[in-house]
Symmetry: D2
Subunit: 365 residues, 4 copies
Amino acid sequence: MIEEKDWQVIKPRSSKKQYRVGILGATGTVGQRFIQLLDYHPQFKVTALAASDRSQGEIYANACNWRLPGAMPESVKSLLVEPPRAPLDCDLVFSSLPASIAAQAEELFARAGYPVFSNSSAHRMESDVPLLIPEVNHEHLALCNVQGKQRRYKNGAFILANPNCSAIALSLALAPLHGRFGVASVAVTTMQALSGAGHPGVASLDIADNVLPFIEGEEEKIESETKKILGRLGSDRVEHSPIAVSAQCHRVNVSDGHLLAVRVKLVHGAGLEEVREALASFRSLPQELRLHSAPEWPILVRDEPDRPQPRLDRDAGGGMSVTIGRIARDPVLDYRFVALGHNTIRGAAGAAILNAELLVAKGYL
Amino acid sequence: MIEEKDWQVIKPRSSKKQYRVGILGATGTVGQRFIQLLDYHPQFKVTALAASDRSQGEIYANACNWRLPGAMPESVKSLLVEPPRAPLDCDLVFSSLPASIAAQAEELFARAGYPVFSNSSAHRMESDVPLLIPEVNHEHLALCNVQGKQRRYKNGAFILANPNCSAIALSLALAPLHGRFGVASVAVTTMQALSGAGHPGVASLDIADNVLPFIEGEEEKIESETKKILGRLGSDRVEHSPIAVSAQCHRVNVSDGHLLAVRVKLVHGAGLEEVREALASFRSLPQELRLHSAPEWPILVRDEPDRPQPRLDRDAGGGMSVTIGRIARDPVLDYRFVALGHNTIRGAAGAAILNAELLVAKGYL
Amino acid sequence: MIEEKDWQVIKPRSSKKQYRVGILGATGTVGQRFIQLLDYHPQFKVTALAASDRSQGEIYANACNWRLPGAMPESVKSLLVEPPRAPLDCDLVFSSLPASIAAQAEELFARAGYPVFSNSSAHRMESDVPLLIPEVNHEHLALCNVQGKQRRYKNGAFILANPNCSAIALSLALAPLHGRFGVASVAVTTMQALSGAGHPGVASLDIADNVLPFIEGEEEKIESETKKILGRLGSDRVEHSPIAVSAQCHRVNVSDGHLLAVRVKLVHGAGLEEVREALASFRSLPQELRLHSAPEWPILVRDEPDRPQPRLDRDAGGGMSVTIGRIARDPVLDYRFVALGHNTIRGAAGAAILNAELLVAKGYL
Amino acid sequence: MIEEKDWQVIKPRSSKKQYRVGILGATGTVGQRFIQLLDYHPQFKVTALAASDRSQGEIYANACNWRLPGAMPESVKSLLVEPPRAPLDCDLVFSSLPASIAAQAEELFARAGYPVFSNSSAHRMESDVPLLIPEVNHEHLALCNVQGKQRRYKNGAFILANPNCSAIALSLALAPLHGRFGVASVAVTTMQALSGAGHPGVASLDIADNVLPFIEGEEEKIESETKKILGRLGSDRVEHSPIAVSAQCHRVNVSDGHLLAVRVKLVHGAGLEEVREALASFRSLPQELRLHSAPEWPILVRDEPDRPQPRLDRDAGGGMSVTIGRIARDPVLDYRFVALGHNTIRGAAGAAILNAELLVAKGYL
């Protein structure tokens, strides 16, 4: 009844071979984003849905309480929701299973020969699992081969993880600075959106007229994952970066879009304009390869004094750009700025899809 | 820097003659919507901008604090903001001037030969001004001729108004019921979005953790305009409908989308399923004519128990569909339901644009 | 009209016999309100706590995540949370158990000889259970005797219920009008606060930038309970009032305070000033008896155009007054107004406590 | 650690001489707080009201749109609102005038012999104006004498300022650490409430579903004022502290209560438990003197992982305590924690009143 083309954002840039895709955790907040972003995707077609909840056995139209603006894509309505177990009718899987379930379920999919693109935290810190942001550390995907050998996965299967939503936005902002000037330490204070907690997530009564200064496990994830993301690829593992990372995390009453107040200390001196320019001019491999979900600019620098803002900037670049503003010298560390990323697109479903697009382009699939 | 095509919603369906358009009140909330919706419009091209505030004399990029998600369209950035006085370099004007200024300014534009599509309340209740919703009372546009003669406007100029945002959503919901069963009385209780008050509008401190049971002039507008909209065209004026209309209006802490709890008493008996069907099957002249901004379905009926919702449904049909749910028999009047319309698209800028498209199609321009 | 003492924390008016009180559902939203309101109460002292969840066996300080502003009262911190089963160390119980559990648990407490003051919906519509609002239908408490005999409860035990939170505010507003002019029909549209759904209640992601047009069972409760509340006491039951009642219910993003847009049709004609005066001058038995929790004015009429508002008016009369504003003639029914009541004080815990105070005063305890 | 009497409305501890007080800026957000907090104050009685807006010449009941929960105190309703010019019928003035007007108006009041307790930023950084927080730097009030001499004020008149709302909460949190271990640098990221911007302040449309990363002048104020507050009193001026201070400020959609994420580097090593203890045990002169508005504990340390929270903790100590939680070692600086203060009580009106109470106790008035 609702015209789905009105809701469609990302458009195909070319026609290529199509991979059949399974979504694990298909009824959740991130699962719905996967389905929305993959509707009309030129390379991936959703052919299987799985969930760990009681929705198993129903068709998706009945199993899923669709909570995104716009209508559920027609193409998935009649798919049956299955348990998150191989075999599934697909060539690869995107997983947004809860961490507790993902640990084993994703492992079993890889063991059964499926490439697994995981948004879960279960395997992120394992030494042979790439923690990938294509613009930041695409060379880490070489770990896929290491992992396949060590774990004896067949058919080129692997588990590849995207980082935590805040760690992605932070790492994207740090990447150009680290590359040019070296980052010695970073202190980030987050103001994170409600959708990051999934559904039902935070009780409305707890966040009404309020801010919550605690998100379970979040500060630890940002502090540890950022070091792995920015680490150097060794022979069979990533040497974590020695950057000192401090995170203070807060939940604010915003639907989508994580805001990060960042302070950085640089290894090498740099002028304010150099810092701005490093951020504003940053482009990387996904832009070169013109990957379907790659934004033209991974970082958008805005010079107005009151940007970025979640409601105005979260959808920039189709939700795949990080918007940065308020770049200034800092009296305690060297520089400070504010960064904003869409937590369920660039920070979750879109991140995993971009990873998969990179692996297609690099011949891993 | 932000790719504006990512933000674009409505796409041209065909290429036709282009009219040059001026926007009066271009820097305000509705003015910005006009510009957003007219970007890439097949028939209208924005060539002039005017505002009554101190932004006059600056280019739009500097004059306007753009507050819509997505970037300001490139095509208007370098246009100069002029005072709202003829002549302007355009064939017709869309006006979202404040009512106090609109009264005289719009009159002077019409007198100078410009067709005026007004979103202001200034002229709505004048007997020779059509108060137009193309799906509801397109025959009222015949008043344009009456008006032109009475007021001695030249060149086919006229003032044509779209109704108040809530009155539009209400009238669209009533139209199919009135047409089939007759509406004897209607009681509507609104929960209206913040954008309806423009900018700065409601102070955040007044609406935080709160509901405001008062919107100046709103109940009166809904009660009087609805009777004119649903009235019958006489020889030189509209005979207002005798329907009894009661409105209680509230401001809620929602960015966009007015929610209306409606109860109606019908003249002729009707079963619940007939009522639902009358709403769900409603289409009218704009759909027949395939007007560019006309949604495929002016009314979308949803049968889930918890719809419509502002955040999920306001953008349905590109913001031009009214979503209706919770249709049920009512113990006091006959039927009740909940309706939701996007107040700055279907309720303001989109309404005026659809009106202009109809007048183009009917040869009035 | 509002006097500042209405806003003070409620203070004892005299020293009387103290009853030992048990709270069923002590860890929930309403349970916490019971404990807060009973701290320093002159007649009731909390001596036992019970809950149906996994908090059983812990002391309250550990079992309860206290979510009200202000600290947990010292006096309950070391009480053990027990299962909701007799015997409990108390003379009477206040119950805010979930309806599914309350049905049997409350019955068993009454059977064991405890007077039960229930905020649950489980027994409200049973013919021998008083659905009591002391200002509205205090004569209904005579049903306690009927019930005791019919059910063979010992020691003067009974189950006495307070109505649904919205039904209480509505009935208080209708009582003076019904008494003087007769109410023929009433149509109420509610905008209800988050705390009414308990905790965790509504997911924050569902209500952010949104209104929900659905609260399970709420419209039915308001429509049926109001008729019983305003009904006439017969020999062994209440004859429900023939008033036609229509309710449309919405959840809004407000922490506390239900707002009701009300339209009424009266049996006997009345002028606007008479209607206002009937509301503003309303006082009843609890005020005469100077019950501890009775507000000086059960209804506060405000004449400003933008009142009542949840954030500003919910705590009037210590949360026990209903604030009414925007009284006006209505084109469809006869009169309309907006009413506001604190849903967890006058609409829940405070309602049950006032009921208990009345029964003490009347010698039922 | 929190005792329930901390939450009670502040009560007189003894009866003393009463001073007649004038409020400058009486109709604003902070002006209303002054009036609310001074109602029933044992030492100060409001006898004069002034405002710079068009409310002059009306009685306060008509001039002021009272926006605090609870009713306007009876005692001020019939006071006339006068222009902010001497003479006023009072012994001293509290000023919350806008900075632009305060600069001259406050100077003229002091010149006319009135002690001026200013919440405005106009004179804060002048070398002979004490920037006072009684628990932190009460010795700075000796500057009043210096100032009186230098400026030749008569009758012991002076201008005494309280700091910016965020600077107060920050300085209170730093004071015990600075006293015991020395603070070398501090980086604070604020999430500030709407009431801090006054009324109308932030437009609701700008903050709905959003965070604003910019508050004009706020970062500068926090960075400079904190150094003066923590500076050492010299012979005729304060030597600003050499502490490095970095502030990033954000506006969040919360009515009252500023949340501060703080990181500190200490001069002398200290263990986590020592840091916690230094904060939790902090008391100072106002507590010794038992000043009326002094909270029993200026800092309340909470050990739950998810506190402090604005809605739950802002009213602690009658709004005069700062609540601190999440104390932990920090990988970049030495320690981090989250602090919460009520911005219009401890951060504005209450701050000025406590200052005045101290000056009474010290014989300056």
